[in-house]
Symmetry: C2
Subunit: 322 residues, 2 copies
């Protein structure tokens, strides 16, 4: 039976249980009609995910749905924005209802968790491609920007960057780890946790912030470039998950920590005088928050060992066209 | 030389000349930071275009760029919204700079024309797929919705629906027309004009509206379904462009007028007492505005000839998965 795109949209995407009071008209018209809260700034972000670039085409669709939304919520988190609305566009080779049911379940479950309403989208035939746009709000002047790092700022990361990169390294077959560690890395890659709560807590506190999608070196590099500063990373302070800690393959671990993408942790900078406030707040977080370096006036990024030696930087994170 | 996605974004998409005062932060951070105008409602719409579904993969990239934005501005027009901001996500098999330069030229030229600022987006490797989101504003309560048609309303269309559909019919080789007409149809298909000015003029005047992307019958059908009404279309009043008028192939013309998609004209309904006001306004438009039918209480769509006979409806417009 040929399935109508209108039927598919109604069946899988227009049935979200949650309805926000600021949505006048959601899925089903030429556009969504929304009531922005007066006095706040709007944050808009979008990410496109292509099969076999961002996810394996045979990956579990529920995980793909989760990740497609998570990476966008992560961008809002990096700006300190409270998520509100999301649109979803899908190109699909075939209207596979089993796939769509699982995909929409993963997507909508995460949406409910963060009180984000799906307000519209599009569906077309084509090679499997997903495009999500997320919208959120931040009080005027409180957004965290990439261009706001200052010399002397302390650099932090949430969580344990490198986990997702290690899952990708395992796929190449050149690295081996214990089976439990493999499952953990795979889960971190497939079901990243957007650090929305941390992003909200950091506004008015952190100076610059970014989420780690292309690798710590590369993403921190965006902050340095936009802020016109440099940094020193303390390599031996990079936090390791228990799985990273038992890997044994030190070069692989370091490569994942510095260059592995897909972690969706936050990297941010903060004025030293704010450290006590940060420590008080971070005690209540469900993830680690680790000091990993310092912003310096001299441009460039240096990676220092605890014995004072410097580590030569190799590789620069993920670039879709490099 | 391998080209960086960051280089490509900076080179082709971060250089828009126009800068709106309501954009605090555009391309280049985790998200755009925007100042919505207080007291207005926000309209958000998105469309995804896949190669060989929405455009031929070998089509002129400038036209593809134009169309990718035009179809989204058309959705805003159908809601009566004033366009403000747009995001653009691109999956590309290769970073072809000649293609990108022409694509971005077509996209940004139309953006300038409507004072729309490109505020962000994404670029990834993948099969050629384009996803655009457009954001605009409408005074509270003045958006035109699909569910607002009332029995007795007069149905209008802008322009001459069927032109784009005829270009698609010509591609099949089963229809032939004079060479000049062919060029005209192709231009209407490849470079649709979003009826933004008409949409703005119609707010507070029209009841329901939709833009014709999947064919008049199907799109008018959405209004009927959402409004819980029916309609009678006056077949012999459907407006024809000079090219449609000289086609000769009457069944092909009628099929394009009723079922051809991709016109991006507006179809709207209006209370009869407002007709004098509409006629005064439409005199200044750069496109035709033609009465083509009437909304009725009885469900269903009837197509009537001027001799009173009814035309059997065949085909239902374009569906991506039918």
């Amino acid at each position: 039976m040929a399935l109508s795109e209108f039927y598919l949209i109604r069946r899988y995407f227009a049935r979200q249980a949650m309805a926000r009071s600021d949505v006048v008209l959601g899925v089903g018209d030429d556009g969504a009609l929304l009531e922005p809260l007066g006095g706040e700034q709007l944050v808009v972000t979008t990410d496109m995910l292509a099969a076999d670039v961002h996810f394996r085409v045979d990956a579990r669709p529920e995980g793909i749905g989760h990740k497609a939304l998570a990476v966008n919520l992560s961008d809002l988190a990096a700006m300190g924005a409270r998520p509100a609305w999301v649109t979803l566009s899908l190109a699909l080779p075939d209207p596979d209802e089993v796939w769509l049911a699982a995909f929409s379940r993963g997507f909508l479950r995460l949406a409910e968790q963060f009180r984000v309403q799906l307000i519209g989208g599009d569906m077309t035939r084509g090679p499997l491609t997903i495009c999500v746009q997320a919208l959120g709000f931040v009080p005027r002047g409180q957004a965290m920007r990439r261009d706001a790092a200052r010399p002397g700022d302390v650099i932090f990361v949430t969580g344990t960057p490198g986990d997702a990169g290690m899952a990708l390294a395992l796929d190449t077959g050149r690295v081996t780890v214990p089976e439990d560690a493999r499952a953990y890395f795979r889960a971190r890659l497939d079901r990243p946790t957007p650090r929305v709560a941390q992003g909200l807590a950091l506004r008015g506190l952190a100076n610059a912030a970014i989420d780690i999608s292309d690798g710590l070196i590369q993403d921190l590099g965006h902050i340095l470039e936009r802020s016109g500063v440099g940094a020193c990373l303390f390599l031996d302070q990079l936090p390791r998950s228990p799985a990273l800690a038992v890997c044994g393959d030190e070069p692989a671990v370091l490569a994942a920590q510095l260059g592995g993408g897909d972690d969706y942790e936050l990297c941010f900078t903060i004025t030293p005088s704010q450290l006590p406030r940060l420590r008080r707040i971070a005690v209540g977080w469900d993830c680690r928050c680790t000091e990993i370096g310092v912003i310096e006036a001299a441009p460039g990024l240096r990676c220092q060992r605890s014995d004072g030696t410097f580590h030569p930087l190799v590789g620069g994170g993920y670039d879709h066209f490099a």
